[in-house]
Amino acid sequence: MCKKGIVPTRCAMAEVFYLDGEAIPFRAGQNVLEAVLAHRQESSIPYFCFHPAMGSLGACRQCGVMVYPHDGKHPPRLTMACLLPASRDLQLGRAEAKVQHEHQLISELLMRNHPHDCPICDEGGQCHLQNMTVASGHAYREYEPEKRRYQSQELGPLIRQEMNRCITCYRCVRFYQDLAGGEDFGVFGSRDRVFFGRLEDGPLESPLAGNLAEVCPTGVFTDKVYHQDYLRPWDLEESAGICPHCSIGCNTRPGAARGRLRRVRQRSHGEINPHFLCDRGRYGFRYVAAEDRPRQAQAGGRRQDVDSVLDRLAARLAEGRSAFLGSPREDLDSNLALFALARVLDAPFAAFFEPWEEAKAREILALPHPPAPARISAYAEILVIGAVDRVAPTLPLFLRAAHDRGAAISLLRCLPSPLTALAGEDRLLPPADLLDAAWDWLGQRHHRPFLLLIDSESVGPELLHLLRREIGTWPDGSGILPVYRQGNLPGASFYAVDGHASRLRTALAGHDYDHLLALGQDPQEMDGPWWRSHGDIDLSLIDHRRSLSWDDAWLTLPCAALSERPGLYYNGEGRLQAAAVAYTPAREERHWRSELGPFPLAAGGALREELLPSPVELCRALAERLGLSERWQERLRFHRDFLLRSEPRPGDPGVFLPAELRARFRLHSAPPPRATDQGWSVCRFSHYSEEELANGARELHSLAPASAAWIAPGQQEARQVRLRAADGTSRTLPLRELPDMAAKVLAIPRAELVFLGLRPGDGVDPEWLD
């Protein structure tokens, strides 16, 4: 890279053009604005409608630069930098009075209808328009007509619209329609009546709608959730975070202040989330502020202090009749700490409570290095199995980019999907037939590398197994990218997928074990019938959400939420990423006179930290009480060193699980296929906002539809359906029609599936009720 100020001819690496005499390197195909933005963080050229993900439009006319022709015959002319291809030795001027005047005039025009409401605008302090207007030097309006006025729309609990602030840069609609594929948001009208919005009030339907707040260069679309706990962005402490809400592992930038987590924004990672973050990642963080989040340790449903609960737990563990359950949504160290504790106690440990889920995790681990999400768009042939858009809402962005590049996308699904519009081949199937259809697709001759995107929640382990067995015969570069909603599945299950779940169940079903210590997982939420039939097992829970069994459990220990502690997460591609502590929950306090309320922090007051222990600390405390501290530490270090060849720091791009560590999982035999009948079968219905943690985010979760059974239209006249579990219990669900879904399929939320002990693809005998 050329450093600033060095004579550019010395720079043989890249070709350069000159902006105000400064050499700016560029790559072929870049335009001038892109090159300048890539060259330095703060652009000296103001701009609005340009966005790295959406490219140039030339609509705002703000990024003008003076171009000096080489021939000397033509006079210099003003051109938009975002529309000017960078070429060698181009001479551009930005700092001259004429250009600056032009920028000022454009700013004045853009501000013509923009209200003077920065003080009450949430964008103030992070507003592109504010920055550019100040930078261009426009300070006083000379023409003061009445400003244009709109009726803003109510766009749901996540995004707030204030249309009067619009400068018609079209970024929102370009993002929403062209990139996110949203159908319920558009641009209406013409001239100066252009309006960006929906047909009528209502929540935006796209799971990527939250990005509007970041895409909009001014305050038309702002973050409603952030607004609840609003503090100016300059007061926020931002850290490098990792989204824990699905297997993609998007990089986030949580912003916290005064002991509260206030917002999450996206932090660009070129391979995972170059530009955008889905709403689950953006708003799911609110689970830390859920009203029912447990904060008190309990014993038998009664409040107790942590130490006495730990004492009782340690005494119980010392009896040697306890089994351990880890969690694929907890971070690596927490799982390893519990695993090490189980090892030193020689107790059974599993990361999954269900052998079926465990088998899937094993198949996921056995996959050869999957491609990074951002690489999806490079594939020419893509097979999508299941509802990946519901599991990982950012994936459609990459699929859309692939489609725009001419990729052939095939879709096998049982639920409606926004990807239908992109798919060349679109087959609507019951879940049990997905495997055969995928097999058919592979049977077609593919010469170019292709990609299988699998929603591993709607398929069984046998599909993953059979498909990954074939990888050797595929063209080089082909791969499988599984998606699921657990943030750290490979990390949690690495030591615990060789039939551990079955052994755990056998142990608990026998007489030797009568106590289960579960971290971040609730067996009742994993397999309802089994748990109901083993009611004599005592359950101890370490968690930061109030799970189903929380109030009935023998002992409960609340722990710090994921954003309140550092963590390491293996995402779906086996990439290990580190998240920093996003915030420390705290309450303002002052010492001298409590009745006057908290002493202002900014004025020298203090924050009293309200810390809950992390799972690792709880495990350490248990090990100390058991007198096994040293052995536990030794174990932990051993497992950790084996798994973490190199440990990334927060903000690093991440390191991969070594191939040889994955290889040992390939030797497993095929999981037994399930019997399929031709009657009704179930599939998992999910909304994009659903995830164990994100369910606690009130605003986001309010968008999820009420629990129901969904069927294709015109199949049944009944209003309700009753389903029976193997143990005789039953559930009655309201029946709803869902257009564009597979016939003879009942789509049921996960909680109901678990209660009934059903897995996607299982045949059922529904009882139709009126």
């Binding site: 159908e183 319920d184 558009g186 641009v187 209406f188 013409s190 929906r198 047909l199 209502g202």
Partner: protein
């Protein structure tokens, strides 16, 4: 996307089949028929209400937002009830110089409602260039006939005629 409203009662079946024919004519690109559908529906009903908007969206296989984008962009597609008649008076430069602003003021005074709104019988709209600059000021009546040049007296009589009609 709001739920599609039933249009069975407001759109006669003959019209519906005619619309379907137009869509079929567009072949593999049904969305190409959207302008034709809007034109037919507006000719039949006078303006495009929400039901017709949804119908067009359904027939063309595109989202209602797209149809609305198109409707609100083009001035000849009306999204509000204009009354029985529409008078468009050109206010582009030639007509402006020839007295269109005076005519518009007159029309407003006579109809009693601001430009663009209906007084129940008719509405008067300013309009971009009608291409009749040589006979300015020009007007466009009910989307069918042009009147050019439009004198103040002719305007008064026209509007009076419409009022009497009701």
């Amino acid at each position: 996307m709001s739920s599609p409203t039933s249009t069975a009662e407001s759109v006669p079946t003959t019209l519906l089949s005619r619309l379907q024919q137009v869509v079929e004519h567009a072949g593999s690109h049904p969305e190409a028929a959207v302008c034709d559908l809007l034109r037919i529906l507006q000719a039949e009903h006078g303006w495009i209400d929400d039901e017709r908007l949804q119908l067009v969206a359904r027939l063309c296989g595109i989202s209602p937002v797209r149809v609305e984008e198109l409707c609100t962009f083009y001035p000849l597609v009306l999204r509000e009830d204009p009354g029985r008649h529409v008078l468009r008076i050109c206010d582009s430069i030639a007509c402006h110089l020839a007295g269109a602003p005076g005519l518009l003021r007159m029309a407003v005074a006579q109809s009693g409602v601001p430009l663009g709104q209906s007084n129940g019988h008719y509405s008067v709209l300013p309009h971009v260039c009608l291409g009749l600059c040589e006979r300015a000021p020009a007007a466009f009546v009910d989307g069918k006939n042009t009147v050019a040049p439009l004198s103040a007296e002719a305007l008064r009589q026209l509007l009076q005629g419409w009022e009497r009609e009701s």
